[in-house]
Symmetry: C2
Subunit: 362 residues, 2 copies
């Protein structure tokens, strides 16, 4: 018998009330009841995004689908864009843009470092006609957090470009204030700080961004934000949404609203501090130079294969910890702090790690 | 207190075991456990599709997303295609193709009529260089079923085009034999005959279709079948899938396999016959000239607004029946028979309809 503990950066564990809501009898998606649920989700999402003016759109897709939706709804062939990347998910914006024939100017930070506003300024000055600048809020591949307020300010100073943020892993975990920071498009998914199962994604789109959406020439159908906005009048989505996920998301958002978004940020920060302190006591160093609160990336000591370690922990103890991606495979482990992850979950993970590290002579 | 009864053609009601599976503790999607679940789903889907040779791909999206995936993975700009449409969902293929700059040759049947093989033959003879022909299995907007075996045979006789079928509402309800009928791509969604919640979609892709996928030039990222096929080796999906939905789908497929797909088809056909007989006794006529088993579209008598009728039934009795779409709004009602819908559900719907029709003097 083993309890399954998720310390991975999405999907994160679900509060029992969310699981319960997802198991309720299914609603048809063109009814008063669904409209009420959908409205509540969008209203609570505006609160989580800290926006009054943006339009929140909901899609049934993974976080990556929402990233693609931003590319196809904002751009036309030949448009100039900047992608300021700090890891694997920033690189994904580059891949999506290229798949659609748009060649981005790429400002790439060394993995583990946050986006440098000075380097962004240089790129903006060299590319005055840029249409959009793409950032991550947090990059789960490296565990860094970007200073979005400063970066968005830099964009505004230098150009008329819209600021697009992938906050799939950051929202409802790490502070974000869409309106006061001047962010134009913020993307997210249901399965991380939002404490729901994966399968829903959201885009908050500012009034400033809508003219681009109307004039963009890249092809789009399922991800067409114009159709999504039009359907909002009928309190529905253009195509059948993941209704059980919407029921779960409504429940999770109620919990977030009840706790207060600032308290959610504070709770996540406390778990991050707790984990960094544990790593310090073990003599383990952090991978990120600008560590996020959503997850802690920890360097493995020389001679320890992080991937083998976490595979053993998952198999024997049912605790799921993430490894490194791409060039970091085996070299780091990543412990998440967002959503319904608790101190007790972390303690269980720490104990499993300590036992194996001490056996390895660390 | 009212019990909520779904007689709509998707989402359909969920078996309790499926709801229970979706409420289980969430799995991480890059684990042995998820791989086992995913493998079981794909294996059972091959059985439901009645295919040995096709590759089954899974996406987290609505049925419409799977339709878009077929367009972008099979076609290049300038390609010639035929869409043989029998209703609103066939028309959707036309809209998707146009959004991507592909102008289809459209063979449109009058609503309520199935696709006519003779008209298809004419279109094929006039367009020898056609790359793909798109059909619906069943069109839920009109309640017709197409003779896919005959239509696919016609395509094979006249051209080298691949046969693409939208079976979002047909699969696991209406007979379909992918291999023996010579279908190349069959698309479906989780929320109808497959008895799971909405949010997952599938594409079965024959060996004959893969060279087109490799050479297609339309832009694609999230819906890229090449990435999906590559990930199958690791028993995973390229991006975070709807894991709770996969757990539910695995459970529903176990039930289908246990019942036997032929028995599922038979059960659905019996409910359709039962509903047609009821309509006959009420003096109501059927809308479809070639009625499907997945749902029955019934003409409303002159002077009766079908939309007002079903709105009242939903509000007062919690029974959800579908109305007409586009030009059929208010003129027909649609009662579904697929998935976990039972005779008892139908009886409740019939009673609610009878009470209101007799009040209207019908």
């Amino acid at each position: 018998m083993k309890r399954y503990i998720l310390l991975t950066p999405g999907p994160t564990p679900l509060p029992p009330a969310v699981s319960e809501a997802m198991a309720r009898p299914i609603l048809h998606h063109r009814t008063q009841e669904f409209g009420d649920l959908f409205d509540a989700v969008l209203d609570d999402m505006r609160y989580v995004y800290q926006t009054q003016g943006a339009t929140v759109l909901m899609m049934t897709t993974s976080g990556t689908g929402s990233m693609e939706s931003a590319v196809v709804n904002l751009l036309s062939p030949g448009d100039k864009i900047i992608v300021h990347t700090t890891g694997a998910f920033g690189d994904r914006f580059v891949s999506i843009a290229k798949a659609y024939g748009v060649s981005p100017v790429v400002v790439a930070e060394e993995w583990g470092h946050a986006a440098d506003p000075a380097r962004l300024r240089q790129a903006l000055q060299a590319n005055k006609d840029v249409k959009a600048v793409f950032f991550q809020h947090t990059d789960t591949s490296t565990g860094v957090v970007n200073d979005l307020e400063k970066l968005a300010h830099e964009v505004r100073e230098q150009s008329a470009a819209v600021v697009v943020v992938d906050s799939v892993s950051g929202l409802a975990a790490e502070p974000l204030k869409m309106d006061s920071w001047g962010l134009d498009v913020v993307l997210t998914g249901s399965q991380k700080g939002l404490m729901c199962a994966p399968g829903l994604a959201f885009a908050a789109v500012s009034e400033r961004a809508w003219p681009l959406v109307e004039s963009a020439k890249l092809p789009r159908f399922y991800f067409d934000w114009r159709a999504m906005r039009k359907s909002l009048k009928n309190r529905e989505t253009p195509y059948t949404p993941g209704v059980t996920l919407v029921a779960g998301q409504a429940e999770a958002l109620k919990m977030i609203r009840h706790e207060g978004i600032e308290n959610v940020w504070k709770r996540t920060a406390e778990l991050a501090r707790y984990t960094r302190a544990w790593a310090g006591r073990q003599g383990l160093s952090l991978f990120a130079k600008d560590p996020a609160n959503i997850l802690t990336a920890i360097n493995m000591p020389a001679g320890v294969d992080g991937d083998a370690l976490i595979k053993d922990i998952l198999a024997k103890e049912g605790i799921s910890i993430a490894g490194g991606q791409v060039q970091l495979k085996g070299k780091i482990i990543r412990i998440a702090h967002m959503g319904y992850i608790t101190k007790a979950d972390l303690d269980a993970g720490f104990a499993a790690l300590e036992a194996r590290l001490s056996k390895a002579g660390v």
